[in-house]
């Protein structure tokens, strides 16, 4: 499936390399190095280092309040919107630090799409939901281009057949599962390379969940996907790499199969087998 070239410059061009090139280019698409996050005086994340490869799904698991959503948000600088929030360390996308002074967070959030637990379609039509970001970033040269981008995104999100005859219907008139896929279509319409998902299926019924999981399976061929999930079974089903967080620290990372059949750390084992305190 060919990727459409956006007219606006990508993140890379917006932050030209200055000074000496990086001596150690990371292999992973997204690479966190010693990332700590503070809410005022309270430290929520402690020196987290994690590589998230491209064309692959990384799952973040852990009990409530362990910092996994905080970590997810540091990848596209959503933590910027939280007052008194401070981030240290490096979050690198293709070797470039997202917190560098000359990075435009708006552009960043086009390149790094995000899907939340509660589907949040805009109070607009199905078509305008998907077209919104495309128009905002000037990614379509003409009305015909825009229609093509919207259709392709809805196709990729597995929603086209269900909405093609009612593109003008309000986005919020769709079912929960459809809304979530609409939101995913909206995210991929602006041609991201990375998609972040924060418990995308928690509010969905099992069939809608299965459809979203199938979508994730297909998307991973082209995107780096990072998903926070409370469901061990889901993490096991959709991801290739799993990272276990506890009390703000990254306890263990590994291939998903290994984490769920033979984890190294006893804390990981206790959590995934339901033996936690």
């Amino acid at each position: 499936m060919s990727r459409m070239e956006p007219i606006m410059p990508q993140l890379r061009v917006a932050t030209p390399l200055q000074g000496a090139p990086r001596t150690q280019a990371p292999a992973a698409k997204v690479s966190a190095r010693e990332v700590s996050v503070f809410y005022g005086d309270k430290q929520a994340l402690f020196d987290v280092s994690l590589d998230m490869p491209e064309k692959s799904v990384t799952a973040l698991i852990g009990p409530s309040g362990c910092g996994k959503s905080t970590f997810l948000r540091s990848i596209n600088r959503m933590n910027d919107t939280i007052p008194n929030c401070r981030v240290t360390g490096e979050v690198l996308i293709d070797g470039q630090d997202v917190n560098a002074r000359d990075v435009d967070p708006v552009l960043l959030r086009a390149q790094v799409g995000m899907v939340f637990q509660k589907p949040n379609p805009f109070p607009k039509s199905v078509f305008d939901n998907v077209a919104y970001g495309v128009r905002l970033h000037g990614l379509a040269g003409s009305r015909a281009d825009l229609q093509q981008i919207v259709e392709m995104s809805l196709q990729k999100a597995g929603l086209w057949d269900e909405v093609k005859d009612r593109l003008n219907a309000p986005g919020m008139s769709l079912s929960g599962g459809q809304q979530q896929r609409l939101v995913i279509a909206r995210a991929i319409a602006v041609n991201p390379e990375i998609i972040l998902m924060d418990e995308p299926c928690s509010a969905l019924d099992p069939i809608a969940t299965a459809k979203v999981e199938e979508l994730i399976d297909e998307l991973k061929a082209n995107y780096c996907i990072v998903i926070v999930t409370h469901s061990m079974a889901q993490a096991a089903r959709v991801s290739q790499q799993t990272a276990f967080f506890h009390l703000g620290k990254l306890v263990e990372t590994g291939p998903t199969e290994t984490i769920f059949t033979n984890p190294r750390e006893s804390r990981t084992q206790d959590y995934i087998t339901g033996r936690f305190g």
Binding site: F260, T261, N262, P263, Q269, I272, T273, G274, G277
Partner: protein, 230 residues
């Protein structure tokens, strides 16, 4: 190991272990009684062994039902998953041990007329070794001790050696006195059954190792002389 937060999950696993312990006990008793029956040519004892086999079969069916339920309802992971899968395989091994013990017991009346006491003694010796192997591996499973399991696994070489020498001994009897050929042939089957039970013990040892470590034992068995004998 700490308890599951959902206590009934822990109870399910304990019940499973209990069933396997009962199967193990039954298999041990059947085997040692079958050996005793052959050595003493005790037909009555042999009959009790045969009659106990349905119990062990029923336990295996029960274990499989429980495992199916556990897998579907609990979706066990990591060590819990390995424990459940190992239990399934060990139940199969123990059911086979029961069948082999029954097969030995059935042959008691067919070796009735053997005068070759020496051969029967050889079978009894091999039988005691295999019975000890079974007991040791079942103890290793209860205690989840990989070292004990590995020792059983390595010691199977001794069982094989016993089988080889018993085979040669019995063939000699057949050559010396062709009237004993029929009975001796049954004796060879008994020896073969014992050797198979030895193999089932090593399979159980491998399962224990996998359960505890998550890894397979190497395919080459180490030589028995290198280890301390029990």
């Amino acid at each position: 190991m700490t308890e599951h937060t959902v206590r009934s999950f822990s109870q399910d696993l304990e019940e499973l272990s209990g069933d396997l312990a009962r199967m193990g006990g039954l298999a041990e008793d059947m085997l040692s009684d079958a050996i005793q029956a052959i050595a003493a040519r005790d037909l009555v004892l042999a009959e009790t062994v045969v009659s106990r086999d349905p119990q062990i079969d029923a336990l295996q069916v029960e274990v499989e039902k429980k495992i199916l339920r556990l897998l579907a309802l609990r979706q066990p992971l990591a060590r819990d998953l390995r424990q459940v899968i190992s239990a399934l395989k060990i139940a199969t091994e123990l059911e086979r041990v029961g069948d082999l013990a029954k097969s030995i017991a059935k042959r008691v009346k067919l070796v009735d007329q053997i005068d070759a006491v020496g051969a029967l003694k050889g079978v009894a010796r091999m039988g005691r070794l295999v019975t000890a192997q079974l007991k040791r591996v079942l103890d290793a499973y209860t205690a989840l001790e990989t070292d004990a399991a590995s020792r059983v696994w390595a010691r199977d070489e001794e069982v094989d050696e016993h089988y080889q020498s018993l085979f040669r001994e019995v063939v000699t009897y057949m050559i010396e006195d062709p009237r004993t050929i029929s009975a001796c042939a049954h004796l060879l089957f008994v020896a073969k059954n014992l050797e198979r039970i030895g193999d089932h013990c090593t399979n159980i040892a491998e399962e224990i190792h996998f359960l505890v470590t998550g890894e397979q034992l190497p395919t080459e068995r180490p030589k028995v002389d290198a280890l301390n004998s029990n």
